[in-house]
Each structure stands twice: as structure tokens, then as C-alpha cells.
């Protein structure tokens, strides 16, 4: 199932008008943020994954992934992808989504939020995306009664600012006996790995968008830039670097499409989803690495300046590789499963995925 082209085009147009990377790069204030966010809210994009009963747009999974990809295409530091994910998580427990930006905790297996029997949240989560710029956090918490989904106000949490290497907020959030404003069990059995898988696909989708923009920047720049008397795109070594980058983008596109497709086919997030998402996070992370290196090489010193927007993409790619677990983390998860099943099951597992 493909995304609705109207939704994709609307999202792109809003970002082109109000979230242009060069404009944001040129300014040292954050005045662009409110008009951009308001336009996204008005278009119903922020809560695309919430059902209409929960106050959302009730859009398809494909639509939401497509919106997240546009965030990557523009490398805009705004918690749209995270708000979509938060809305999705709330929807799993039929909790009505609030307006305003949200983020999601935990962000990996290494931190936990516990819910006491009295309904109080405790825990510390490192590197929470955009926490300080949100109004609400949605927590997947552990309780004696299984996983619970809780919505808390940001002001109820302790926030210590931090950032990723792209300068996006990645804050330490402390839940010290925080009382959620809404809390509920998921409406269907919910293995916590689902959140990690959705988070990984979110970053994978964003990385694919960012790689595509970098590729297009490189195609344009190498045809403009003249050296040794001709555009550098005329040199075979430049063409071949671009071809390699095109191959990496192609791999990212195919891997991401497969992961999205697996989630859309299997809402219970079975083995097929794990295989496809793990593969995508690994392969797209590798593509991000290779594509960023080539994009910087092709742009020369100009691309290594604050003024040029290339870093907005490469820096995010380098951060997103690690978020929701790195290539190595996912490779160990996948490798363990492959080794345990043995040599004769490797191919049947690939064809079944």
C-alpha cells in the first residue's frame, strides 16, 4: 500500500515554505518553529497515526512513514516524526492525543520506566529526542500487570538538556514519582519490542529521506562546480562516486520499503517484521555512513562550512544511525537468530521474510 500522494505533497510544500534548510541555517533564532508547527497541525499531519476517535487524522501507516521521510528530506529540527510515533503509541491504548509536540520514552532497551501499583512513574531515560521542546511525553512503562502506556506532562518531569551531534535536543528525562495524566493498558497484547521496531523504522525512513536530499545536492553541485576547465561532473571519478552513492540510496530505499511493508502486513510485529526492520536499520545505517562520506568529498571545503547546509544532513545521519540502536546492535540481534537456526534455515528465512 502506497502513501497518499496528496499527503506527501502537502507535507513537502509546508516544509519548503516554512522549514527550508537554508533559511533555518542562516538564522540563529527559532522564530520559524511556531509557524511551521502550526501549519503541520492545521494540515492534520502531526497526529496522522491517531484514529479519528482519538483526535487524529486516522491516516494509514504508509502515510505516516511518508511524513517522517519528509522530515528527513528537509533535516528540520522539529519533533514531527516523534509526535507521530507518540500518537501511534497512544492509539495502541486508545488514549486521546493532545495537540502540541510530543516525544516517546524509552528510546532503547537500556533504560526502563516503571509504573508502581499506585500508578506512579519512576525512571531515568537518556537522550530523549526533543524532550524540552514538547508538551507531553508518552511512556511505555513496565508494571506488575504488564506494559502500560502513559501520557505525562513535560513539566512534571525533570529535564537535563543534552544534544546529538546535529545539535538536536537529546535530553535526559527523570521521572521522579510522576503521576501520568492518562494511563491505560494496550488494547491488544503488546510486546515492548514493537516500540523499538517502530522507532528504528522512523529513523530508517528519515535517513532515507536525508540521503536522497544529499544525493540530489551532489548531482546539482557537481554540475555547477567548474574545475580544470569543466564541471567536475564530467570527471569519471566524480561520476563513479556519485554512482556508488546512488547505489547506497537505492539500498536504503529498498530496505526501508521492505521494513514499512512488513509492518503494514503484520500488525502483530512477528518474526518477519523483526527481520525486515533489523535489516533496514543495519543497511540504511551503512548507507548513511557511505553516502555522507561521499557527499562531503564531492562538496570539498565548501561542504565543510557552517554556512553550507550539507552538515544539516550528514550530522543528522550520523546521529540517526545510533538512535534506536546502531547497525552493530541490530546485527548482533539478527546474527544470533541466524546462527541459532543454523545454515539450512538461512535461505528459507530470507525467502519467508
Amino acid at each position: 500500500m502506497n502513501a497518499d500522494p496528496i499527503i506527501v505533497e502537502t507535507t513537502r510544500r509546508i516544509f519548503q515554505d516554512l522549514g527550508d534548510p537554508q533559511t533555518i541555517n542562516n538564522t540563529d533564532n527559532t522564530k520559524w518553529r511556531v509557524p511551521l508547527w502550526n501549519a503541520l497541525v492545521e494540515a492534520g499531519l502531526t497526529l496522522a497515526w491517531c484514529s479519528e476517535e482519538s483526535g487524529g487524522a486516522g491516516a494509514s501507516m504508509a502515510d505516516g512513514f511518508a511524513i517522517q521521510r519528509v522530515v528527513g528530506e528537509f533535516a528540520t529540527p522539529i519533533p514531527l516524526a516523534e509526535t507521530l510515533l507518540a500518537g501511534w503509541l497512544l492509539d495502541q491504548a486508545r488514549i486521546k492525543a493532545p495537540p502540541g509536540p510530543m516525544t516517546v520514552v524509552p528510546v532503547n532497551d537500556r533504560s526502563h520506566i516503571n509504573l508502581t501499583d499506585a500508578g506512579i512513574l519512576n525512571g531515568i531515560v537518556e537522550r530523549v529526542p526533543f524532550a524540552r521542546e514538547t508538551e507531553h511525553l508518552v511512556a511505555l512503562s513496565n508494571s506488575s500487570d504488564g506494559p502500560k502506556i502513559a501520557m505525562v506532562q513535560r513539566v512534571a518531569c525533570g529535564i537535563a538538556p543534552g544534544q546529538n551531534l546535529a545539535g538536536e535536543p537529546r535530553d535526559r528525562v527523570s521521572f521522579n514519582a510522576v503521576k501520568p495524566i492518562h494511563m491505560s493498558s494496550p488494547s491488544t497484547p503488546f510486546n515492548p519490542i514493537r516500540l523499538k521496531l517502530m522507532g528504528a523504522v522512523m529513523r530508517t525512513v528519515q535517513m532515507t529521506g536525508a540521503i536522497e536530499t544529499m544525493l540530489n545536492m551532489c548531482i546539482a553541485y557537481t554540475q555547477e562546480r567548474v574545475a580544470f576547465g569543466r564541471p567536475i561532473a564530467k570527471f569519471q571519478v566524480i561520476q563513479h562516486n556519485l554512482a556508488v552513492m546512488g547505489g547506497e540510496f537505492a539500498a536504503a530505499l529498498a530496505a526501508t520499503g521492505a521494513a514499512e511493508g512488513a509492518i503494514m502486513r503484520d500488525p502483530s510485529f512477528g518474526d518477519e517484521v523483526v527481520m525486515n526492520v533489523a535489516s533496514a536499520k543495519i543497511r540504511v545505517g551503512e548507507a548513511a555512513n557511505e553516502a555522507s562520506a561521499i557527499a562531503h568529498q564531492l562538496h570539498g571545503a565548501i561542504g565543510f562550512t557552517q554556512e553550507h547546509i550539507l552538515h544539516r544532513f550528514s550530522h543528522r545521519l550520523w546521529s540517526w544511525r545510533d538512535e534506536y540502536d546502531s547497525e552493530a546492535n541490530w546485527a548482533v540481534l539478527l546474527g544470533k537468530a541466524v546462527a541459532a537456526r543454523g545454515p539450512d534455515e538461512m535461505w528459507p528465512n530470507i525467502t519467508a521474510a
Partner: protein, 383 residues
């Protein structure tokens, strides 16, 4: 965004998955009966090809009136990948199935189609591709082997090299010079011909490859006479005919599964609980393979849907052949800490040696890496 590269997510249809089970059963029975040894030998086994033909798995997308089954490209995809993974000897029919048959379907006369295509589908008729020459490899349009008009039709003189399995082939589809290139178009002047390898004047001599195997040949043409009906397509216009077929040739699973046994044997040698390094390396290889397969299936799906994904096909071959080329070295490193007596280590080492020796060819055959990258760059909009 410009959207120059597209990989539509494609799922194999249920009938293709049903066929997969049938193919796996057939291959398992063949191996158990000792009819072939997986991944061993030169892969040319006409008796095996005849059995495949009897199953209806050669030329399976072609019209029934020419011996085909009119099945989909995605079904053919499944057959191809299962044969590769099972290390089956398909060389006696694969060239005709993938390339030569489709060329004949498009350009040969009705009577040639009626004669030759059914014998291909029965596994009885092998093809070779006569493209490269001593001074024309990647620079295909520099081909000099001539076909000149004569009373009986065409007279061929010249030399083709690196012609795989010409020593077994019944026919060759040869790219021959019928006119000089023009100033405006250096690709002009080449024509495709169907050559019966039994025609007088053809000499085939072996060129032994660096693995010590006889696969390549040199094919010399001395006053070889071909009748007029052996011209495939328009005289001097072969350059226009090549492009569509290349998408099929470049994007298939044979572009990343030729040495897949290396990965299987790596899993065997690492055992059920490898060290962290082996585990991580294995996970990456499987992720890369799975992604390549998704890319390749996507191209097959787009071809089936009547699209022309030539850029994507070139990408699959470039990324795929680089991957399979690096696979033996990757596996060798990941297995470095396995004990000498562990998990059949000796057999693994032997297979890795063979795979290492074969690896250079993947990025040369069927369009070099350099040619592919130039094609991809052009596809991306560079001139």
C-alpha cells in the same frame, strides 16, 4: 525531490511461493539421488537441463506456442534464485533462458522461433553470447568482427573472445560489424546475428581461466556464411536493441547469489553461538543480502508491470556483484577465531579458497563495474 531512482516494494505472489516449494522438492530429490553435487564443477550438465526443461522451467515466461508456459517474471525469479542457492548446474540452459531466447522472440523470423525456442525450453539447445573481442570488451561498439553482404547472405570474418561455453553451445548470438560507425553515432553499424555453431569456418579454442577451468573460449570466424534470415532485428541498429534486455540481464538474483554457499558455510563453521564478532558480521551479511534481494525482486516486479527500470537494474548489478565479491573475504575474517577442528573447518577453508579465486570475475562479466557506474551516473542526470 526528483525521484530518479525508484524501488517499488514488490511481494512475490502466492503462485510464485507455491512454485518455490515444487522447485525445492525437485532440487532436494536431485541432490539426494546423486544427480549433481551442489556448487561443484563447471555447472554445464545437459542431462540436468533436460530434466529442468521437462518441468517447464526453461523459457517459462514465453508464449506456449514456442514451448513456453506463459508464467510471470516473478515466477521465473523464484526458479532462478532457488537453483542458484541449491548450486544446481544450469549453464547448459541459463544463457538461452535469460538472454538469447528473449532476443529471438523479439527479432527472429517465425520459422526460426518455431524451430529453436521449443528446443531451448526442452533443455536441448545451448547458447553463447558473442560480444567481446580482443580489442572490444567494455567498449562494445568498437567490435570489428565483420559481416559483409554476399550472394548467399552474409560472410563473417573475425574473432570473439571470453565466450563462455562456446565449446558446448549449439548457437551463438553474435554482435557483428555491418557498417562503419558514423561521425554522429559511434554506436552505429553493428548488427545481431544468429550463428549456428556447426557452420563451416568456425573454430573454438579454450582459454583457461585463473582458476584452471575451461569456461572461456576464443571463437574464430573464417569466411563463415550466414543466410539472410539469420539477421536479428535491423541491420546496423543493434545498439538500439540492447537496452531493454539489459534490465533483465543485470538485475537477476545471479548478480548476488553466485557464491551464496560461502554464507551458508560461514554459518555452519561459526556454529549456533558464535562470538560477538562473528555474530555481528553474520547479522550484517544477512541484512545486506536481504536488502539486495528486495532490490532485485523490486526490479523484477517493475519489469513485469511493463516499466523500464534500467537505472535500477544497473544499480542492482553494481551493488550485488560488489557484495558477492567481498563475501569470501568477509567470511574468512569472521571465521578467523574458529578452532581448526571446529565445525568442519577444513571444508570451509577449501570452499573459501575456491570462492576467493572466483571473486574477481563478478565485477567484470556482463558489464564491468566501471561501465555500470557510468551508466548509473548518466541515469542520475550527469552528462
Amino acid at each position: 525531490m526528483t525521484g530518479k531512482i525508484a524501488f517499488d516494494p514488490v511481494r512475490l505472489p502466492a503462485e510464485a511461493e507455491a512454485l518455490r516449494i515444487e522447485v525445492r522438492d525437485f532440487l532436494r530429490d536431485e541432490i539426494q539421488a546423486g544427480n549433481y553435487r551442489p556448487h561443484v564443477g563447471d555447472g554445464f550438465d545437459r542431462a540436468f537441463s533436460c530434466k529442468v526443461g521437462a518441468k517447464g522451467w526453461i523459457g517459462m515466461t514465453w508464449p506456449k506456442k514456442y514451448g513456453g508456459q506463459q508464467r510471470s517474471h516473478l515466477e521465473r525469479y523464484v526458479v532462478t534464485e532457488e537453483f542458484l542457492v541449491a548450486g544446481a548446474p544450469t549453464k547448459a540452459h541459463f544463457t538461452a533462458d535469460r538472454q538469447s531466447g528473449p532476443v529471438l522472440l523479439k527479432y527472429a523470423s517465425e520459422s526460426l522461433k518455431r524451430t529453436i525456442l521449443p528446443s531451448i525450453t526442452r533443455g536441448e539447445c545451448s547458447f553463447a553470447i558473442g560480444m567481446s573481442e580482443p580489442d572490444s570488451g567494455s567498449d562494445l561498439f568498437a567490435a570489428k568482427t565483420r559481416a559483409d553482404k554476399c550472394d548467399q547472405g552474409w560472410r563473417i570474418n573475425g574473432r570473439k573472445v571470453w565466450t563462455s561455453f562456446a565449446h558446448h553451445a549449439d548457437y551463438m548470438i553474435a554482435l557483428l560489424r555491418t557498417s562503419d560507425a558514423t561521425k554522429e553515432n559511434r554506436r552505429h553499424g553493428l548488427t545481431q546475428f544468429l550463428v549456428d555453431m556447426k557452420t563451416p569456418g568456425i573454430t573454438v579454442s579454450p582459454i583457461i581461466n585463473s582458476a584452471g577451468q575451461h569456461d572461456f573460449n576464443e571463437v574464430i570466424f573464417e569466411d563463415v556464411i550466414l543466410s539472410e534470415d539469420r539477421v536479428l532485428g535491423d541491420v546496423d541498429m543493434a545498439w538500439k536493441q540492447a537496452t531493454a534486455e539489459l534490465a533483465f540481464e543485470r538485475s537477476g538474483p545471479e548478480r548476488f547469489l553466485e557464491n551464496i554457499y560461502v554464507l551458508t558455510e560461514l554459518i555452519r563453521v561459526l556454529g549456533p553461538q558464535p562470538d560477538q564478532r562473528g555474530t555481528e558480521g553474520l547479522g550484517r551479511l544477512v541484512a545486506q543480502l536481504h536488502t539486495l534481494r528486495q532490490m532485485s525482486i523490486s526490479v523484477a516486479g517493475m519489469l513485469s508491470a511493463g516499466k523500464e527500470p534500467s537505472l535500477e537494474a544497473a544499480v542492482v548489478k553494481d551493488v550485488g556483484t560488489n557484495w558477492e565479491q567481498q563475501l569470501p573475504n568477509c567470511a574468512r575474517n569472521l571465521a578467523s577465531f574458529v578452532n581448526d577442528d571446529g565445525n568442519n573447518r577444513g571444508r570451509f577453508d577449501e570452499l573459501i579458497e575456491n570462492a576467493t579465486i572466483m571473486a574477481p570475475k563478478y565485477t567484470i562479466q556482463g558489464g564491468t563495474r566501471e561501465i555500470l557506474r557510468s551508466i548509473i551516473a548518466r541515469g542520475l542526470g550527469l552528462r
